[in-house]
Symmetry: D2
Subunit: 359 residues, 4 copies
């Protein structure tokens, strides 16, 4: 119950610290016979890899993945898929000055209280470096979903007060990864990039939102009561480092509407049922209804800033420190593929869960 | 994996339909020796009971709870606590005209596709009547939390465009249940009530938000990676009927801030560590830091309206129908105690989970 | 994690004490659309009901089951199936003299140490009365298995030193329930009955074994490593009150054989693969191979005897006591259907689990 | 639910195949602050390592373990402990002649039917090579148990018809690992060794039993109903490759006894409660009572023999084949430490689970 496993039938378990030997994980429950495209997985990893532009962390990690089990002649065998990714660009000494500092809004204080011990080289287990394993799991989930024609696409929809105010249907999501911020509107993307560079130069950081859409989910995924599809999606997203909020469909804005405005009227055309509007965000009663599933995730500004800050040390004495190491001024660009990965894991899990809903 | 159980160590499993014989559940994993105050539980149930004012459903349910096991001489024994609540005011004929209609934004369509069969008397399993069992589980969780001085308080913070724009610290939360909408500001509460009555008269419904605070949570609850405390809280809230969004701490607004503004600086006073601000919402790195935990949940307008709506029937033909039966024009007033219950269940579960974090 | 739930996809959770208001449970994960034959379930319950002959407990329980949810028009709906069975013949005063006694080989001492509190009317949660709920769950599992032509049959194969030394294939298992001991060999059954009556008259008790066969299990059920089919069967059986041992296939005797004798050679006939011998007991590598699954379960003599015994009380002082109440001189006759129920639950669970083994 | 994880709070997940790149696993839920003695772990691994004597497989594996996470300065941090063990002595060509053969009493047939694909180099996931990861998990569990003074000791108690007919209390278990068969009676050990060499020379194999004792388990471990301590022990043991049976305490022999003989009378001495006899095997009502826990596990003769055997191939045609590769003529010697590992995992898990049994 230590919470390092996600999913019930399609399960990802992860291990590894920011500055340890390696990170890795086990994907258990992936059906046998799925062809694994290794270049696709590498490509997914590239989307969150640090060091690719000035607006992300300068850490140089190749993120080369080694699969250790579960595959045979390029296909899954039904056995657990073990994998590791070695840490290569580890500069633990960047953290020597922090061994005793409890950095504000980090996990230093909470971990030391919870465990009585803390891995002080980098963020240890609390580092977002852990998410590299989620991208691996998500990539395999995406390959499974592909067999069912389901696709997942996310993009940066806000950075600070720069907001992409278009509906996802007005955007060409295939251009999302064409720029450094991973926003499918080139003009807004440039403004976002400018904003990130501006705060980076100040030694500061900035937050934002990511929007995610899952297309072609069949009707029936999700369990009615506690494991509603959107509840599991919400948990998945909120478990990503720096996440502060989640909404799907009409979300917080929908609270101001009346039922007569908000209800999604059904239409039937050639035996295919769909809805005219989609305030439901593709989920009704916790179960997918065949329409697009869309949601938005809020991310706070990264806590590690390069400015001087007051804090305390383990003894409770006041200290002044400033961040070193290689950090992201904005988590959003690299988080886009992580959001996609978490969505893919949730949908893949519920796809398998739904195999036993009826006789 | 059918999703009718919540929690890992402190577990609530529920069963029952809107118009079935009875609802009920099992609370498993509650430590032995906890004194159970039955009048407290009844009082909690009263907070969500229908039929108490004009702005909620007129169904008359006594919601009398029968405990069948797990208690001995007023205390928990460590055995599972089984309980039932009989349905007494069942008017299934109110639903006869709906047997074939797929009501917009309800679970009719998704259930029939998922299961191939649907309980057509009322909402069946998808009805919010299920939440009565959550209140029972939450009440027992609250009694456990009380032993640790932890308390949970929620309130209606928005109805439609009527927004309570005060910080929870400016409010007297002990007055929350003094009015029908369960909002601790009497003046705003009256506006909300007027709003609800207005939409009710139109045969329409309205959405809103509930804010929830958990006080005195010890440092260390929550698991770092997938089961972050706020991720489990988010899932808990999103699993409530009609929930559309969740945020904690600075939430969606915090995305516009810079790290230097958003970081919660630590101060140490007489060996007690606290933070000056609390944008973190009491959770850092997924683990509680001893500050107040606060979050907000968005609820859509109830789907059942008394106006005529177009829809389709199971055969895919267009029909016009209007709601009958006894429904809430606004889910908020009755959902306040449900939000509290879900928060209590999450905290109780993590309280137990944290018992094994260190040697 | 309090252990009152069995199964992963087809799940049975139970509650209730020997002398409480009612016992009951929730069956969660049963696929929708399964026709539930209530008279079949009653008939199953009748097979373990006390008071039916002189060789079992004289407690008079009707064991009338009330289904509270999850069924609609005689079929499962996919919603959790809640049920209760009221205790009607409760004589708590039979236990007044035992409130402070720690009865030898009972759970009195272990429960009081574990929980600090104990339900002292009868065995409380440790009573075999709990198994009535297993029979309900098992009956529904059997109905599911029937759709796949899978059947489960168990019988008493030993009582004390009276041993039924025939292979199950030499017996007509349809006659098992024709006599009070539930042994399909009438002559041996009579000897067993005599044995039980003999010990009962002495105020004593006796142990024995039950053999169980599952027919027509498709190839492929069971998970290779920790959740091997026979491992889950073993756990299921060992969780029954008074169970002391479990073996399947060649079992303990097989340890004396050589590999060349023990290997089950394959033969293929009209594309149907089978084995000449079946020392494997229908399971190879933890996965069913299509042959009969058979196993044997050992049960100790019931701990409650009507003779005087020395023991101690809660204060650690020596006491002499003798059993009162209505107890079984031999657990075997009533345990046959419980063994069947547990086998059915395991197979039903793995049947569902296997739905996602391959693409 | 693919069954590659064992335990609920102290959890071991494993991956890896016999002839893959590496095996490995994750230990999740180990409390923080536990000192990890690496030489102890290596020593445990040495006890199951192949190639150490003529009576075991001649495969030469160093079984060098690499810990990748979860440790800091020699102690557990509360983060998941990831580890790998590389396969070094892989001779896949030994299996080329078997690619199409369905070997009798192996998992070839059941895997191909279940997954539609099979790793044909060696046993793949079904190989007992997987148990190397169990020994790692068990070693860490033993280190945790040591903090509570709990110890686990197993030994070979039977090989074929050579039976060690002494009670464990008459033996010096510290001498168990002094000989190749891991039997603490030197004279019987020699007979067992002779027996194994005899069958090995015939190209045959032989079965046997292992006895296991857990000392100093505190009162209160185990959950009353489905997760009884002995049920979880039984499942653990039955999940080991080649296991065919499990009994604890009086086991199958106890079935012949009367209650008056079998009951373990309590005695109290200086406030310490114990029992005169221990037919209960240290578990009453599913919960440990403070007495020694002891059990016995039956293992079948290894299926891979070096003699010619008839079988069929995937097409269903008859073939004759004989085993190649490096196999154990008797699984017992190397299984002793595996049995200990599984026992340690179960007790460690229940130790943690019991932390929340009462307020």
């Amino acid at each position: 119950m230590a919470g390092n496993t996600f999913g019930t039938l399609f399960k990802l378990s992860t291990f590894g610290e920011s500055h340890g030997v390696a990170l890795g994980g086990i994907i258990d429950g992936c059906p046998a016979g799925l062809k694994i495209d290794l270049s696709f997985i590498s490509n997914e990893l590239a989307k969150r890899r640090p060091g690719q532009s000035k607006i992300v962390s300068q850490r140089k990690e190749q993120d080369e993945i080694e699969f250790l089990s579960g595959l045979y002649q390029g296909k899954t065998t039904g056995a657990p898929i073990g994998f590791i990714i070695k840490n290569t660009d580890v500069k633990s000494k960047d953290y020597n000055h922090l061994k005793d500092v409890l950095r504000p809004s980090h996990a230093d204080y909470t971990y030391i209280e919870k465990y009585g011990i803390r891995h002080t080289d980098g963020g240890g287990r609390s580092s977002a470096r852990e998410t590299v394993c989620r991208v691996v799991g998500g990539a395999i989930a995406k390959l499974l979903l592909k067999k069912y024609k389901i696709t997942v696409q996310a993009y940066t929809s806000q950075v600070g007060n720069i907001i992409l105010n278009k509906n996802y249907k007005e955007l060409n999501l295939n251009t999302t990864y064409d720029n450094d911020v991973h926003c499918p509107d080139a003009s807004i993307a440039q403004q976002m990039k400018n904003k990130i560079e501006e705060v980076r130069k100040e030694g500061d950081t900035i937050g934002g939102t990511i929007t995610c859409i899952v297309y072609s989910v069949p009707v029936g995924l999700g369990e009615p009561v506690f494991d509603k599809l959107h509840a599991d999606l919400g948990k998945a997203m909120l478990s990503i480092n720096a996440a502060k909020g989640f909404e799907y469909g009409s979300g917080f804005e929908g609270t101001k509407m009346k039922g007569s405005e908000h209800n999604d009227l059904f239409i039937s055309n050639k035996n295919k049922v769909s809805t005219i509007t989609n305030y439901s965000g593709g989920v009704q009663g916790g179960v997918s209804n065949g329409q697009d599933i869309y949601c938005k995730v809020a991310f706070k500004p990264v806590s590690t800033i390069m400015k001087e800050q007051k804090s305390i040390n383990k003894e409770g004495n006041e200290v002044v420190y400033s961040g070193k190491g290689r950090h992201d001024p904005c988590v959003l660009p690299r988080a886009v593929v992580i959001v996609e990965a978490m969505a893919a894991l949730v949908i893949a899990d519920h796809l398998l869960r739904n195999k036993t809903s009826k006789i």
